[in-house]
């Protein structure tokens, strides 16, 4: 049986850059779903302080992370000497995605790794789906 990804939620507590309604809705839906998950107050702060808890967060197998931009999340972990597994992490972006999209992806047991590898340019961004 394939490994079920763990869930990690970042509350981005020390800034207003993640819409409050999105992060609140994501957290509430995770609680309502009754699933196990880890939640951290602020990945930036943990990275800046090189909190060893970040090592634990990446060392337990594949993980889905509700936070912000994948490029930022990748290098926040790397800066704390806790690099994300390239093929074992999926980052959902609460700055631009809806709570519904994020929770659907988090609760889906499949993993779609999207941690950037190499230079990230505009061509790497998800392209809008053409109307049919």
């Amino acid at each position: 049986m394939a490994e079920v990804p763990r869930i990690l939620y970042c509350h981005c507590a020390y800034a207003q850059v993640v819409p409050a309604e999105v992060k609140t809705a994501v957290l509430r839906k995770l609680c309502d779903a009754g699933v196990a998950f880890d939640a951290v107050p602020d990945l930036c702060e943990m990275s800046a302080r090189q909190d060893p808890n970040l090592q634990n967060l990446v060392s337990g197998g594949c993980v889905k992370i509700a936070a912000c931009y994948p490029r930022a999340v990748k290098w926040l972990f790397a800066a704390a000497k806790a690099p994300l597994p390239p093929d074992g992490a999926e980052v959902l972006n609460m700055r631009v995605q809806t709570a519904e999209e994020i929770v659907t992806a988090l609760l889906n047991t499949g993993l779609q790794p999207n941690v950037p590898q190499g230079k990230v340019t505009a061509e790497d961004a998800p392209q809008p789906v053409a109307a049919t």
């Binding site: 602020d42 990275s47 909190d51 060893p52 912000c68």
Partner: protein
């Protein structure tokens, strides 16, 4: 107390065997309160996986009606672990319990500083040392291999993204910045034209960032000494810096708190020398 490399408290909300279920709304309230206080929270469920425990100081919270808290699997010898019964305790009470446990377990406390600091995208960084030369506050340094790194993130000026604007590769991110690519968003073609942005800033400052800052500061000091009017001098200085602040999105308070002209010159020379030394080290022998 320095908190670098120290564990913060991890709180586990447990409602598995031996504990009464915690309603979803209560779990949400408790988790929100704990996160706002700076604690990590794990919602543990029987048969489901969360991150390993390791050596983190741990507080186990559960509604234990007639039993003690269960043993926690996965702790390492010497782990600091305590459990508390939260039967009948509301979110505010849980928050207070956790504050006390954090002290008891001597866990690092976060949340006293807005985490504003540069994060380097090493997929883009070319080790050009522009950031090291530019930053007056000693945020950057090099490692033993002369590779650029963020060494003193506490020195970074909150809300100031100036160094990311001089990076020719858009490799410096501030994840809490409002806009891309500085916030970590993908780098667009227009962003790739970073040299232009760098030149624009340089032109704005009359060709030399440090000379211009020195000049502005000297002018402000001169006015102050002639007029002996602190308020007027401050207003003039603020007026001088408005354009710079707007164009570079540099917070006025950062510019207003710049050191004396002599100190700026000294730091600039120091930063340039460090960058030059690092670059020289990179040059292959002829």
């Amino acid at each position: 107390m320095a908190v670098k490399d120290q564990y913060s408290l991890r709180v586990v909300l447990y409602d598995g065997d031996g504990a009464q279920p915690i309603p979803a709304s209560d779990r949400f309230d408790a988790t929100t309160a704990l996160l706002e206080k700076g604690f990590s929270v794990t919602q543990a469920k029987p048969g489901q996986t969360v991150s390993p425990i390791g050596s983190a100081p741990l507080l186990l919270l559960g509604r234990f009606a007639n039993t003690d808290a269960p043993e926690i699997a996965g702790t390492v010898p010497g782990s600091r672990v305590v459990s508390r019964n939260i039967l009948g305790v509301d979110a505010a009470g849980i928050s207070a319990l956790s504050e006390a446990a954090s002290l008891e377990l001597q866990a690092a406390r976060f949340g006293e500083w807005k985490p504003w600091f540069p994060v380097i995208d090493y997929d883009r960084c070319t080790n050009c040392m522009q950031c090291l030369s530019f930053c007056l506050f000693g945020v950057y340094g090099v490692d033993d291999a002369q590779k650029i790194q963020v060494q003193n993130n506490d020195n970074c000026k909150t809300n100031c993204p100036a160094c990311s604007r001089v990076c020719p590769e858009a490799a410096i991110m501030f994840p809490k910045y409002k806009a891309g690519p500085i916030n970590g968003d993908v780098v667009s073609n227009s962003d790739l034209n970073r040299e232009k942005m760098k030149i624009d800033i340089s032109a704005l400052l009359g060709g030399d960032v440090y000379s211009m800052l020195r000049e502005r500061s000297e002018k402000a000091q001169s006015r102050f000494s002639k007029e002996r009017d602190a308020d007027k001098a401050l207003k003039e200085r603020q007026k001088c810096l408005v354009k710079l602040a707007q164009s570079g999105d540099i917070p006025p308070e950062v510019l207003m708190s710049l050191p004396s002209p002599d100190e700026i010159a000294r730091r600039a020379e120091e930063a340039k020398a460090k960058a030059a030394a690092a670059l020289a080290h990179q040059t292959p022998p002829a």
